[in-house]
């Protein structure tokens, strides 16, 4: 990156003398003395010799420093092994010294092997795992409202499985599909079977509004949307670069983008006054601030429909976002995993639709989709990267070998997605049930005086409990969260885990429980609300 490359040289050449290499080609100088270009005109010969000599001297000094001090008696013949012998006692004594300490791990491992006491999101998940609610077995257990599972339509999935599971995995009869394959057919690409990609493209076409065609060759399938985000981070940014991300955002992004890719996330704060919708001004501000700090911003990571708020981006917003990305020459990663889980009045518009209708440089747009939310198949770990950039696709294809989906699952999903009637029916039912649950939940909360942000998709209520926290700060928010956890026994996600700038907001997932459980949850919340009010 530090090298100067051709176009800059071209422009520079005409204006000012520049580093020796480019000017030497342009001025046609004599080749006797290197670096003459730099010192042209004033004693070039002298300086042109002195400077490289000095540089060389420094290089030697540098190399000498880097090398451990050798016992000076050795003749400098590194190739033969005998001169190492006098070293031996010394080096072994040093290694003995080493063994006293524990063996070293990487910085990453040292960082992440610590228990999750940093984020209440993960602490909550742990605590539920230890004491989960069960209607009969453990009625006093913790209710899980912090994990994005959709259990509202499991019965439909189960039905379908009962009918089709065996056949789709094993293949029906000897027609050469299923496991019934020998030899060559077992060569399966890591980035997904062609059949599944085809089924996916039809499926996405339907989910994303029915107006855009998705090309199977622009797809890379991964083991869930999580690795899809990680792989894209690897491909779009180098270590130390950054992505802009509107807050509040899904707590998992921190792990997906920061851990292994080493890419930073720069929050772009959205506020309750705008119903947490993104503003280009804030984006602009965050971008220029990052620039000032010397951080290279490579893209914007958005989730649309938003997780946790549940609002969708308007068409205009998407246009301005694209303009912004175009102007700054950065990427857009659109996480659209909730595209099919809409229930509100506002229509979801995929970014694919926008760029399909406009003449826009598509190569900066990358879409992430998966079956975890819309098909309630989180355990299947099926995600997809849809990109319009061939280099990114080529790299992602290679990286998909580290998170490929196993073949039986691919076959199962292929036949499920190809069952058009089932998909149609499922989507209708799912959206109805989500709407029902959402409405019931929001109503219950509003009876307790808790308002939720306007939402039209996803499986969360983004609830404003700022009236219940004291002091009005992150500390107060975490105290309330702890109260929910230990007194009311419900696990919800505090806004601070989603990097929300305003304290007192909570993400409540309403699809992990059944409709009948909603009164129970509301009852438990009521207990906390009342205790808060009485104490104040």
């Amino acid at each position: 990156m530090t090298q100067t490359r051709k176009p800059t040289n071209l422009t520079r050449k005409q204006t000012n003398p520049s580093p020796s290499s480019s000017s030497s080609s342009s001025t046609g100088m004599k080749l006797i003395v290197p670096l003459q270009g730099v010192v042209q005109g004033r004693g070039g010969l002298l300086f042109g010799s002195l400077i490289p000599c000095a540089l060389f001297y420094f290089l030697q000094l540098y190399l000498k420093r880097r090398r451990p001090d050798n016992p000076s008696s050795n003749p400098p013949t590194p190739s033969t092994s005998s001169p190492n012998l006098p070293d031996l006692p010394r080096s072994s004594s040093r290694s003995n010294f080493n063994t006293r300490g524990p063996v070293r791990l990487s910085k990453l491992a040292t960082l992440i092997s610590k228990p999750d006491d940093d984020s209440p999101y993960y602490i909550g998940l742990h605590r539920v795992a230890q004491d989960p609610y069960g209607k009969v077995e453990n009625p006093n257990g913790i209710l899980q409202l912090g994990l994005s599972d959709n259990k509202l339509c499991l019965d439909l999935i189960e039905d379908w499985m009962l009918r089709n599971c065996a056949e789709s995995i094993l293949g029906s009869g000897d027609d050469g599909v299923g496991l019934n394959i020998h030899g060559i057919a077992t060569y399966q690409p890591f980035d997904g079977l062609e059949e599944l990609k085809m089924a996916f493209s039809d499926f996405m076409h339907k989910v994303m509004g029915g107006s855009v065609k998705f090309d199977p060759s622009n797809m890379v399938l991964t083991a869930g949307a999580t690795p899809a985000i990680e792989i894209l981070s690897f491909c779009l940014a180098d270590q130390g670069n950054a992505l802009l991300v509107p807050t509040p955002y899904y707590p998992g992004f921190d792990r997906d983008v920061k851990w292994r890719p080493g890419v930073d996330l720069i929050p772009v704060h959205c506020r309750s006054a705008d119903n947490f919708s993104l503003s280009i001004t804030a984006l602009e501000q965050a971008f220029s601030q990052a620039r000032k700090r010397g951080v290279k911003v490579r893209g914007i990571l958005i989730s649309n429909p938003s997780n946790p708020v549940g609002n969708v981006m308007t068409q205009d917003m998407l246009y301005s976002l694209l303009d912004f990305a175009e102007e700054k020459n950065i990427h857009i990663i659109a996480d659209e995993v909730f595209a099919g889980s809409t229930y509100g009045s506002e229509k979801f518009v995929s970014i694919a639709e926008i760029i399909d209708s406009e003449y826009i440089d598509k190569s900066r747009v990358h879409i992430i989709y998966g079956l975890s939310k819309d098909l309630s198949l989180a355990g299947f770990r099926v995600g997809v990267i849809y990109s319009y950039n061939n280099s990114v696709l080529a790299a992602a294809k290679k990286l998909s070998r580290f998170s490929s989906i196993s073949t039986p699952t691919q076959r199962l999903v292929t036949s499920m997605l190809s069952d058009k009637r089932f998909i149609q029916e499922y989507f209708q039912t799912n959206q109805n049930r989500i709407r029902e649950a959402h409405d019931a939940f929001v109503e219950g909360l509003s009876e307790l005086g808790i308002k939720c942000a306007e939402s039209s998709a996803g499986m969360y209520c983004w609830a404003d409990m700022s009236g219940l926290i004291r002091p009005y700060s992150e500390k107060g928010e975490l105290e309330l969260w702890e109260k929910f956890m230990s007194d009311a026994k419900i696990n919800i996600t505090p806004g601070s885990a989603c990097h929300c700038i305003e304290p007192g907001w909570f993400r409540i997932c309403f699809t992990t429980i059944t409709l009948e459980d909603i009164p129970l949850v509301i009852e438990r919340i009521r207990r906390v609300v009342e205790s808060c009010k009485s104490s104040s």
Binding site: S113, V382, S403
Partner: protein, 522 residues
Amino acid sequence: MTKTSSSSSSFKHRGTSGMKLIVPLQGVVQGKGGLFLGSIIPCVLFYIFQLYFKPRHRSSSPSSSTHNSNSKDKLSDISVLPLSLSRTLLSHTGSVFISGRANSLSRTGHSLYDVGLGQVAENPYHEIHNPDGVFHLGGDDNNLCMDLVQEWMEKNAMGEGRNFSMLNIGGIAPYQPFDGLMELKMGVAGFMSQAVENSVFFNPSQMVLTAGDTAAIEILSFCLADYGNAFLVPTPHSPNFAEAAKWRTGLEIVPVPCCSTDNFNLSITALDQAYNQAKKRGQNVRGIIMTNPSNTVGNLLNRETLCSLLDFAREKNIHIVSNEIFAGSTYGSEEFVSIAEIMEAEDIDRDKVHIVYGLSNDLSAPGFRVGVIYSYNLNVLAACRKLARFSSISTPPQQLLTSMLSDTRFIQKLVEINRSRLQKMCSALAAGLKQLGIECIRSSGGFYCWVDMSRLMCSYSDKGELELWDRLLNVAKINVTPGSSCQCIEPGWFRFCFGALTECDIPVVMERIRRISEATKS
């Protein structure tokens, strides 16, 4: 190269003689007009350095101050633009930045391994339908016992009227632990114990399941080494292993060559030498990654070697990653010793040892992609568990494998039949090759023959090897893996994978090789 070597030797001289520091490189030219030559030489080097840079400038892609453009098709657009255009404008017309790591990845062409597989996929051999097709001896699959697996599935798991455990939808559709279901871990632990004849007890809680063994190795590398650190890897290793492990982790692979004279066994001397040389280059060696039974050669590491390996790791305070994906596919007289067995006996330094295992090979279930990390280091385990979110296995195959592994009678039978079929295929292949006068290393595990084809090469070099590989693929229509893909230092060795063959294929393969062999002689 010349520059660094001359400079390094120069300062060594300087160190010994305590010369004056006015003129660099005087050390080299000491005594005979040092001042003069000591100036000329760096000047000349510098000039060459500039010359070297000039062509690189031309070929490199256009960029601007912050936004680099990378795709080649845009390059032509930009060179057409008038030069007066401001730099910022240039940056906007250029295509969007792609990370350096993605760039190097997307640019690397297909490896020989992929080329071979591509040919096979296009034109696969079939006894009746496509007798002129390409034979698949270049893969990593074992299909020898697929019929048994298929039969079991139909009978027990998913056939009509069977109540497959998978139909408990609550257990597969929602989120499950990213590092694998506990039931499957128990099954895997039992199976791993069985593979080493119950000499070791594997603890399911020391296990992390990942989507395939490559992912397992990558995750371990992320945990054990920082970007730019090095691992010692005995060669020949499995093809593309090094590249794959390097891509994201930024690992450096230090090959530890094993030679045909030692039957490609690992020698501690070679290991020590490689370690010291890496140290001298300034590399930070964090561990050894080895495959046992070896992928490519198929030989086993004996108890003594394992013990001295552990001693070596202890002395240098580095990790050992032992890839034992073929542990259940051993045959022959030699006994397979897992490093876990040695660990049982020794109680110290357990935190340095990590085992990688995979189920697909030993269970003849390709495509299931189940990898296992088994570690004695609690911190490593904790980190791996969290990283498993990026390569977790989907639940249906987990459930399927759980119920398969719980059927111990079937598993026992499967492993036994698998071993005997592997052995039969291996000796049939070796015998066939021997008739043609081609020798191979005696394999005791895995489904590969490591074959010495140097006789058939036109010239004893890497070039000759590639040329022979090309002839085998395009003339004889046999896809094999050349030794150079496995980083073997001796040319002429090839890896034949017999996991995808049937016994009646062998005479056909031999006939095709005979034709090549005769063409070489004449």
